[in-house]
């Protein structure tokens, strides 16, 4: 009798099928919907419409502006934080790092609610500073995702390199600028990729802080509410193109084991 031979390879089949059906196929369908109209006919109207309408182009620019400013603010806070802790000889520094990372595990909508209450108290009315609030909200949400990869990269640096630089006559500042900073680029890039893209799409943060200006994510949300699958698919496709371009740009510089970073401490 022929016995079905157990093979370790075949264990991967269910997951491979799952990925094909629910990861690859949805993107193909997205592509189809983006380039067809309600009657199923081929059209490039969704595509040209996006790039000729001042409103949607404005949305694209506003998303970039929010994402860019958020990323810079996060970097300016996260780098010194990560650096100070990574080089510190404090015995309890892992507790501090844990405290800085812990907000990742608290539901983001509840954290933004808390922030909203405080901002309302400080500003009186959130409507006065929509852009500032959006950046503060995004920074509050994403800061831990910038701190962790930079901290990981700096704390793994070979300390003897810095000693060597100092032995060769570099002072603290130039040792930092010429050794530590260039070597921490992979962590910085990981952090940027974990902040920039979500900041372009996470429109709920804006919604909750009463900023009614659209970012790219909000466009998908509004097409979804209007049952306009074709328009929504085109926006999703454009976002996907931006994400792919961004990933190709950063992938080479990134430290691969920083991906899936949220679970790194558990």
């Amino acid at each position: 009798m022929h016995v079905l031979k157990f093979s370790r390879k075949s264990l991967g089949i269910p997951y491979a099928l799952f990925l094909i059906l629910f990861v690859a196929l949805p993107l193909l369908v997205l592509f189809y919907y983006a380039f067809t109209n309600g009657q199923g006919q081929f059209t490039t109207k969704n595509f040209t419409g996006f790039f000729t309408d001042p409103n949607t182009l404005g949305t694209l620019c506003y998303s970039f502006a929010i994402a860019l400013v958020t990323t810079i603010v996060c970097l300016l806070i996260a780098y010194p934080t990560a650096y100070i802790l990574a080089v510190s000889k404090l015995r309890q520094k892992h507790v501090l790092i844990l405290l800085l990372i812990m907000p990742m595990w608290i539901n983001f909508s509840l954290r933004i609610t808390a922030l909203k209450e405080i901002l309302t108290l400080i500003e009186g009315n959130l409507a006065y500073y929509p852009f500032l609030n959006a950046v503060v909200g995004m920074t509050y949400d994403f800061l831990p995702f910038m701190i962790l990869p930079i901290y990981n990269t700096i704390s793994r640096l070979d300390g003897s390199l810095i000693e060597a630089a100092k032995d060769l006559g570099a002072n603290d500042t130039s040792a930092f600028l010429k050794v530590t900073l260039p070597l921490s680029v992979p962590g910085i890039v990981s952090g940027i990729s974990m902040v920039f893209l979500p900041a372009m799409t996470n429109y709920v943060v804006l919604d909750m802080l009463y900023n009614s200006t659209y970012i790219m994510g909000s466009l998908i949300g509004s097409y979804f509410s209007a049952y306009n699958w074709h328009g929504g698919s085109m926006i999703a496709l454009i976002l996907l193109a931006i994400i792919i371009a961004f990933t190709i740009l950063t992938r080479g510089m990134e430290e691969s084991d920083n991906r899936g970073v949220g679970g790194a401490l558990l």
Binding site: S10, L11, Y15, A16, P26, L30, L98, S109, T120, L121
Partner: protein, 267 residues
């Protein structure tokens, strides 16, 4: 002086991250309806939180969804990782690249595309919870896969061969040799899957039944409305979640520290 500057900087960052949550926690124990106006001590927010059916259902629903999608994601992702690890280079590159897609993709796009395929094209009703669970598994499984693969690479493959030489069937060897060696990756993948599912807003929004809410979708809708009792009851929910996270993080960390000490003592 410089040292104090550094300490001050870290303290300011911690204040930024924690002041909102801590102030909200403080106010959750009062009968105030707004932050700023100090009122008397009251537990009514906690009473509302645990007795309002709507809130209770939403919390229980979120937990059930997180557990079930994390279990499915862990099984699929772990088996996928083992399968891909032992497959030909071509097959494993294929799985690796598809696995990357949900990791780098925006959740809005993932959620919307799954909604289009399942709900719009295939006509699956959202009320079956199938689109929601599939969406969450698609979000979580890739991270389980990424947690397990490094453990497989670190594994000592000769033990598996030895088990086969000693007469174990491949299935038995896998179960008692491979799985224990990658268990830490499976556990952290599972934990990550739970946190991803609990934190998700976008995939749930695009795939959930209209009558079902997760904590995220509920909170986002609640902040748009102005129902004060619900709003302040959510402060109590934040407090509870914050305390649960602290306990879990402390326990997980305590365990790692103890294991490290033990490892050092053994060495």
């Amino acid at each position: 002086m410089k040292k104090y500057g550094k300490a001050l900087f870290i303290i300011l960052v911690l204040v930024f991250l924690y002041a909102p949550i801590l102030i909200l926690m403080l106010y959750s124990f009062t009968n105030a309806t707004n932050i700023g106006a100090m009122r008397g001590f009251s537990m009514h927010n906690y009473v509302t939180l645990f007795t309002t059916p709507e809130l209770r259902d939403m919390i229980i629903g979120t937990i059930i969804l997180a557990l079930s999608s994390a279990v499915l994601a862990t099984i699929l992702g772990t088996l996928g990782a083992i399968g891909s690890f032992y497959s030909s280079r071509k097959a494993s590159t294929f799985i690796n690249s598809l696995n990357e897609v949900p990791v780098i993709n925006a959740d809005v796009v993932t959620g919307f595309s799954i909604c289009i395929l399942l709900v719009v094209v295939l006509g699956v009703s959202k009320d079956t919870y199938i689109p929601l669970v599939i969406g969450h598994v698609a979000l979580c499984a890739p991270f389980v896969y990424l947690s397990v693969i490094p453990k497989l690479k670190q594994m000592d493959s000769s033990i598996y061969e030895a088990a086969l030489d000693l007469g174990a069937t491949p299935a038995k060897a896998l179960q008692s040799i491979v799985i224990p060696q990658i268990s830490s990756g499976i556990v952290s993948g599972f934990a990550l899957a739970i946190t991803l599912s609990l934190d998700d807003y976008f995939i749930a929004t695009y795939t959930k039944p209209a009558t079902f809410d997760t904590i995220s979708t509920y909170v986002v809708n609640a902040t748009k409305g102005s129902q004060t009792t619900i709003k302040t009851a959510l402060w109590a929910l934040s407090t509870v979640i914050f305390l649960v996270v602290i306990v879990i993080v402390a326990a997980a960390n305590f365990r790692t520290i103890r294991m490290e000490r033990k490892a050092r003592a053994d060495a």
